[in-house]
C-alpha cells in the first residue's frame, strides 16, 4: 500500500521539475528580491563586510560563490538520501571545502596575480554561511536540478548586494571605481576632476573602508527594499 501511495506522488513531483517551469523560475528570481540571502535570510554577512572594500575582489568572490553554491547544492542533493543525520555537517563541509579548493586551483592557474591578492578570501568561502545554509535549508530536501537553480539564484542575489555595497564603499571610501580614481583631490584622475569645482572638493572618507560602514549601507538597502515591498516589513 505504501508503495502505491508514494509512487504517484514521486512521479508528480519529478515531472514538472524537468522543464523550466514557473516554480523553477521563482527559484532564481526570489533570491534576487523577496528572499534575498543577505537582506532577508541574513546569510553570508561576514564576507559581505570583509570583501566589499573594493569592486574587483567582490565581483570575483561573487562568481566563486555562485559556482560553489550551485555545485555543492547539486552534490549534496544527489547524496542526500545516503547521508546519516549524525555526520551530515562533516559531509557537507567536505563537499564545500573540495569545491573551494577547485576554485582556488582554477584561479591560481588562470591568473596568479589575482590569486595572490584574493587567496585568503577564497579560503573563507568555506565558512560563508550562505553555502551551508542553502545546503541545510534546500538541497537536503530537493532534487538536484532544483537545487542547482536555487544555488545559482542565491549566489546571484548575494553577488548583487555585494557589488552594490562594494561600489558605494570604494567610491566614497577611496574615491575610485574598480581601482580607477574618479573623485577627490589627487593627481591620478581618469576624468581629471582634480581642479574642477564639481567633484574635486570631495575628500575620501576613511570610515567607509571600515566594516561599520558596510553595516550602515546594508541597513539602508534593507530600508529601501522594505519600503517598496510592504509585505517584507518585520511585524514581530
Amino acid at each position: 500500500m505504501a508503495d502505491v501511495a508514494t509512487k504517484p506522488s514521486s512521479v508528480a513531483v519529478k515531472e514538472p521539475t524537468f522543464p523550466f517551469g514557473k516554480k523553477e523560475k521563482r527559484l532564481i528570481t526570489d533570491p534576487l528580491g523577496d528572499n534575498n540571502p543577505i537582506t532577508i535570510q541574513v546569510l553570508g554577512i561576514c564576507s559581505a563586510l570583509a570583501v566589499t572594500t573594493q569592486v574587483v575582489p567582490s565581483v570575483i568572490i561573487s562568481i566563486a560563490v555562485i559556482f560553489v553554491c550551485a555545485f555543492s547544492n547539486v552534490l549534496i542533493s544527489l547524496l542526500r538520501s545516503h547521508i546519516p543525520k549524525q555526520v551530515r555537517m562533516i559531509v557537507q563541509l567536505v563537499v564545500i571545502a573540495t569545491l573551494v579548493t577547485v576554485v582556488e586551483l582554477v584561479l591560481k592557474a588562470a591568473s596568479y596575480e589575482v590569486y595572490k591578492q584574493l587567496s585568503v578570501f577564497i579560503g573563507l568561502i568555506i565558512t560563508n554561511c550562505i553555502i551551508m545554509g542553502r545546503l541545510e535549508a534546500f538541497a537536503m530536501a530537493n532534487n538536484p536540478w532544483r537545487s542547482f537553480l536555487d544555488g545559482i539564484g542565491n549566489g546571484l542575489g548575494y553577488g548583487g548586494i555585494l557589488i552594490i555595497v562594494a561600489i558605494l564603499r570604494e567610491l566614497f571610501g577611496k574615491g575610485s571605481f574598480a581601482g580607477i580614481k574618479l573623485i577627490g583631490p589627487s593627481s591620478e584622475y581618469a576624468l581629471n576632476t582634480a581642479d574642477s569645482a564639481l567633484l574635486g572638493w570631495y575628500a575620501p572618507n576613511n570610515l567607509f573602508v571600515f566594516p561599520p560602514a558596510a553595516m550602515f549601507i546594508i541597513a539602508v538597502l534593507i530600508w529601501i527594499q522594505r519600503s517598496y515591498r510592504k509585505n517584507l516589513v518585520d511585524i514581530s
Binding site: I45, M215, I218
Partner: protein
C-alpha cells in the same frame, strides 16, 4: 596572569563580533529574543572553548612537523573545520535531547555554528599569534564569552526597541544592522588597549 589578561582582551577589547565583525550571520539572525540568544551564546562558548585547545594540539603536534617532520600545514583548514563540525554536531544532538524548544527556535542557525566565522577565525588567530596551550584555552573561552555578551546585548536592545516608533522598513533586521554598526564604531576606539601593559609598574615607553 597571562590567562586572565588574554581572557579580558578577547572578551572585551578585541571582541570577535564588535571589533572583528566575525560570526555576524547567527548574531543578527538569532538576536530577536534574549532567551534564544542566551542558548546560542552558551553553545558558542562551549564550541569555541573546546575546539581551540583541540585545534592547538592538532596544529602543534600533528601539522607542524609532528609526523616524521613533515610540514602538513596545508591541511589546517580542513582539519580545523572537521573538528568544529564534529563539535557542533555533538552540541546539536545534546540540545535536541535536552531542550526541544530551544532546538526549534534556533532552527537552521544551530548547524550554522559550524560556519560561524568567529570559531574558525579564533583558531586561525591562535595560529598567527602563536599562543601556548593555556593561552589558546583562555582565548577560546574569552572569545566565546565576548560573543555571548555581544549577542545578549543586541538581543536586549532589540527587545526594547520593538516598542519604539521606528520607520516600518527599518523595523527588525534594519535596526539590528544599524545598532551593530554603531556598537562596532564604539569598539574601534578600544582597539590597541593592552591589559598586560596597564599594571602600572612600568608603562610602555
Amino acid at each position: 596572569m597571562d590567562f586572565i589578561n588574554i581572557f579580558i582582551k578577547a572578551a572585551f577589547i578585541e571582541n570577535l563580533v564588535l571589533a572583528y565583525f566575525l560570526g555576524m550571520c547567527s548574531y543578527l539572525a538569532v538576536s530577536k529574543s534574549v532567551k534564544t540568544a542566551f542558548g546560542l551564546g552558551l553553545a558558542v562558548i562551549f564550541v569555541l572553548g573546546i575546539t581551540m585547545p583541540i585545534n592547538w594540539l592538532i596544529n602543534t603536534q600533528l601539522l607542524d612537523g609532528g609526523i616524521m617532520g613533515m610540514d602538513l600545514t596545508f591541511l589546517r583548514f580542513i582539519l580545523f573545520i572537521a573538528v568544529i563540525a564534529s563539535m557542533v554536531q555533538l552540541v546539536e544532538m545534546v540540545i535536541e535531547k535536552l531542550s526541544p524548544a530551544l532546538y526549534n527556535s534556533l532552527g537552521i542557525f544551530l548547524p550554522l555554528i559550524t560556519v560561524n566565522c568567529a570559531i574558525l577565525g579564533g583558531s586561525l588567530f591562535m595560529v598567527t599569534r602563536e599562543y601556548t596551550f593555556s593561552q589558546s584555552l583562555a582565548f577560546g573561552l574569552g572569545g566565546g564569552f565576548g560573543w555571548f555578551l555581544a549577542i545578549i546585548a543586541i538581543a536586549a536592545i532589540r527587545e526594547k526597541i520593538r516598542y519604539s516608533n521606528v520607520p516600518p522598513g527599518l523595523r527588525g533586521l534594519g535596526m539590528a544592522f544599524l545598532l551593530t554598526g554603531l556598537m562596532g564604531m564604539a569598539f574601534m576606539s578600544l582597539m590597541g588597549i593592552d591589559p598586560a601593559a596597564l599594571t602600572g609598574v612600568a608603562g610602555p615607553k
